[in-house]
Amino acid sequence: MILKNKKGDKIISVYWFVILFIVAGAIVYMVISFYGEPYDIREAEAYALTNKAARCLSDAGYLEEEALSVAFKENFVEKCGFNFETEDIYNWRERGQYYIEIDFYDFSTNQGISTIKTGNEALKTDCGLKGEGFPVCLERSFYILDREKNQYQIDILSIVRKTEKNVQ
């Protein structure tokens, strides 16, 4: 009887070890699957681009005086301090991963006045498509006056691709 009890104790010990390994394995799997998923920060990046563009266009609450000039349009990236450089992986350098388009409208008539485009325009074709492999597109608008109190609507479209690192 004593021998039998000892055998039973051994089986219970093995059982406990098996349970311990199953629980530990499950916890490790949960941690790996949680932290293994990438953070998708492309929406935050798109908001940051939009805010930076808006800050650049606004001068003490009024539209930057040069904003509608050809010189500003041509040197937009330098004037506003954008940096569209990316890591040299997944062929990102050849295919730009960012795009910004700024459209100026007359607020009263809704007529287009000027457009500033910079970055990889080809990304625009993927906007509106739903799915994880597509870039994040953010389109926002704001209202602004120039110093002569003319009213404008400014639409900013910011696109961030970088799907390889943000989506798995």
């Binding site: 199953i22 499950a26 949960m30 699957s33 953070y39 609450g61 209202y143 602004i144 006056l145 009213q151």
Partner: protein, 173 residues
């Protein structure tokens, strides 16, 4: 003597079966709990992480629009800020302009948009206007409600004089 031995043996066997069944059930429960935890960790928590920092505390574009709105002049050259300072509530010019700007630009992003006047006297109250209604949803001095409905607010308040301010409130989930 022999019968007694058999009885003890059977009793022992029965208690062993009972104990084994307890552990089998316990094992099944442990495995079910683990499977549920794994499912939640992989399919829900893992996919939705990293977006909390996007919950907005301010909106630069809406603020820019609000400042420009207050600087807009009517046909007599009076700014919206001056009009609101001198009048009791929104008028047709600044009310319709506010609708065009804030409902037009931000209604898709924020389900509830409110622009209006707030008196400085007493507890937080919103002066009803015909363009945006009585008060932003989830506020009205009852902040606990906004906690229950998980709504949060972005607001921009500009003082008009010592008695009142004009406020833009954008409510989002």
């Amino acid at each position: 003597m022999f019968n007694k031995k058999i009885r003890v043996f059977l009793k022992d066997k029965r208690s062993q079966i009972g104990e084994t069944m307890t552990w089998v059930v316990a094992t099944v429960i442990i495995i079910i709990i683990l499977l549920i935890s794994i499912f939640i960790a992989t399919s829900y928590l893992g996919k939705n992480k990293g977006t909390d920092f996007l919950s907005k505390q301010s909106d630069l574009l809406a603020s820019e629009s609000f400042f420009a709105y207050l600087l807009t002049e009517d046909s007599e050259g009076q700014t919206v800020h001056e009009q609101l300072k001198n009048e009791e509530n929104l008028n047709d010019f600044n009310g319709n302009l506010a609708i065009k700007i804030f409902d037009g630009f931000y209604k898709e992003e924020y389900p509830d948009v409110w622009v209006g006047i707030i008196p400085h006297t007493g507890p937080l109250t919103f002066i009803k206007n015909k363009y945006f209604g009585s008060e932003p949803s989830g506020i009205g001095g009852q902040y606990s409600w906004s906690l229950i409905t998980k709504k949060s607010h972005i607001s921009q308040r500009i003082p008009l004089n010592e008695n009142k301010s004009v406020e833009l409130v954008l409510t989002h989930e």
